[in-house]
Symmetry: C2
């Protein structure tokens, strides 16, 4: 692993790809009313794209969820301030610099970019949405971005998804995209999304950078409801390293180019298929982020059942998912289920040791406060030795349940993060 | 570092020593009324001591603090149940197996050990205190311990401190001891303590294994008050990896062999010197645990000032101390203060980005929501490049403050914990 996740790969995001990467990139269809382009602004990286721009058709509605960090970035503040109107005509995302903790200069930078993009697209600055990802605390050279926005606007095309997804990568080893078709009252619509990972991932009622677009015609209220529900089992149920970003941003755009009837509330049955497909896209993207977690060698799924309630189950699941001792054991193919016991215990949530049972994959390793009667070390080791590891904890206290996803903790994480800025 | 913290050293705890280790071991004086011995029970390790026994004079009082883990070990439950009486005559600690999540067999094991020790010492089983450290979830071979307790009792000596401290080591690279002299109303007394680390360290109103003994004559109530106060700035202000152990146990014994007058309350001025010296011993031991954190290459001190209250300051300090991104950056001599901003932001505590300032050592790196005006990358890098790194965050919101201690996150941690059981 150390070799695979060398510093070189961490910096260039080109030589090596996570062993958990999807076998192939999805073919992204066009979404009516969305045009994309990517360019080389040289914000931090050389010889690669680092800015993406999306032009959105007039009438596009937008919903969003954001980091709860108390030190949120300038673009997050910009988006939150302008989300209320719910109208969007453009999106600009840069990598290499997070524009976080950058003071008034950072705010001025977001305004510059929004005004320049608005001029190029022909809309108001408040209809431009922004995100930045990269180093925190360094001044954003906004001028390098603004000077290419006009040409990006001219170059934007319906098939620019992959190029855009590549431009927002930082330590990501592959671009993250997902697509689905849905029907609303029989009318076909498309949902496309992209995301970037891959460290500082522990969303708190929000997510890392991701944007999803559909041609469906949906109100801002419906969009926001669908999005807020959809992030719970997806982006809000993943963690790479327990570190919540200053920049988490998930934006959902609906261009309204499809011919579906207007629908007043998110509870309308005619949205069932759309909701399901949107949730699929969100889950797909969220899992791609975990699969590209910094240094990740394994995808770990954690299922909690029988907690006193769902919130307790979620906290227990995250306590396991964020435990460096659990994550390093799994990295080493070590069926060290005692560390799972420890992580349940430290969560602060109610647990009765004498009812607790734990499975690795299909192998019962612990039950009723003790090692399983038919414990089989070889079978347990095998269950944690593959690329995907499932841990299930049953508390037998109530009906609360939760599922979260994480990755293991390897030398690759240390390599990447001991030298990220340099 | 990777070489220094090889798997070999992790297993044998003999070849390599943490670069942060104290230059020399303290000379431990005798404590009147305490006799110690160590032996090779072969619980898990071969060719090293793994059990220590302390014989305590009749009349010894005891106080304790323990893990808040919901899955606490059998010895923790034993100690909690018998602490109320406050009388102690013996202590048995083994390494190699935590006797946690071991069901009724685990409880039966603690009873066997207590009964056997009580028979050897000549006291009641409830006057024997117990602790175990090592792998969680494996049955404790209590018979290997009980069969040597009689000979250990016979061999116990007043100068057995270092041998005892070595017997309780697991991944520790050096034995942890501290000693101090104090006066109570003019009467000299001695305070000796020992502790073990060095992973699964994130005490929650408790601590990892540690035991402290004094010859002072003090009531159970006074002892417990002094101990509960003393752990706050020491053991409860350290973290290695955010993982709270199932076994955290700190016991404070007072043999009453000294000639000090009896003192009714902990608030009595005559205890001021004793309290100060006890706190010194606790702090010394706690810092030794961090200095031997698994894979540690640097000792990191985090000071928070200006939070809305002390509790908020503590949570912010721990959010920084437990951030893998902060810890890996420091390991890499990277003055990546943006990650400190991130960790403040994710803590959930009130912070005003535009008032926040951050120092690495004496170097101001961020102020008022922006990079410091006179930011000097070379000076900042130098400030994080030594064996000891001080991070100070001023929030400028109130008078809350906190200080916590941690270590960096290195390849050594991954090496040790990817193969701890095997």
């Amino acid at each position: 692993m150390t070799q695979q996740w060398s510093r070189k790969s961490a910096k260039t995001s080109s030589h090596m790809v996570s062993p958990l990467a999807p076998k192939r990139l999805p073919r992204m269809p066009a979404v009516a009313g969305v045009w994309l382009a990517a360019g080389e602004a040289g914000v931090r990286y050389k010889h690669r794209t680092d800015v993406m721009l999306a032009v959105l058709a007039p009438g596009t509605k937008v919903a969003g969820v954001f980091t709860r960090s108390q030190t949120a970035s300038a673009p997050v503040e910009w988006c939150k301030a302008h989300l209320k109107k719910g109208a969007a005509r453009g999106l600009v995302i840069n990598s290499g610099n997070a524009n976080a903790f950058t003071g008034r200069a950072g705010q001025a930078g977001t305004l510059d970019i929004a005004e320049t993009a608005a001029l190029a697209i022909g809309c108001r600055p408040r209809e431009i949405f922004l995100a930045s990802t990269g180093v925190i605390g360094e001044p954003l050279p906004a001028g390098r971005i603004t000077r290419i926005l006009k040409s990006l606007t001219a170059a934007a095309r319906p098939d620019g998804w992959e190029g855009a997804a590549r431009a927002i990568m930082t330590t990501d080893t592959y671009p993250k995209m997902a697509t689905a078709k849905a029907r609303i009252d029989g009318v076909p619509v498309t949902i496309n999304g992209m995301a970037k990972g891959s460290g500082m991932i522990a969303p708190d009622m929000a997510t890392m950078l991701s944007f999803v677009a559909t041609d469906a015609k949906l109100s801002v209220g419906v969009l926001q409801t669908l999005l807020s529900e959809g992030v719970k089992p997806s982006f809000n149920s993943i963690t790479v390293d327990s570190d919540t970003s200053t920049s988490d941003t998930l934006l959902l755009f609906a261009t309204g180019q499809a011919a579906n009837p207007s629908i007043a509330t998110a509870a309308d049955k005619r949205l069932d298929d759309f909701r399901a497909k949107l949730n699929e896209v969100l889950m797909d993207l969220a899992l791609q982020v975990v699969r590209d977690g910094e240094g990740a060698g394994k995808l770990i799924r954690i299922d909690i059942t029988g907690a006193v309630n769902d919130a307790a189950a979620k906290r227990i699941a995250l306590s396991i998912a964020n435990s460096p001792l659990v994550k390093t054991a799994i990295a080493g193919n070590d069926a060290n289920w005692g560390r799972v016991v420890m992580a349940v215990g430290k969560s602060g949530e109610k647990a009765d040791r004498d009812r607790l049972s734990i499975k690795f994959g299909k192998v019962l390793v612990a039950e009723k406060g003790d090692r399983a009667k038919r414990y089989d070390e070889a079978a347990a080791t095998k269950a944690v030795s593959g690329l995907e590891v499932n841990i299930a904890v049953a508390l037998h206290l109530g009906k609360g349940k939760a599922r979260v996803w994480t990755c293991d903790l390897t030398h690759g994480y240390i390599d990447i993060n001991g030298s990220y800025r340099s």
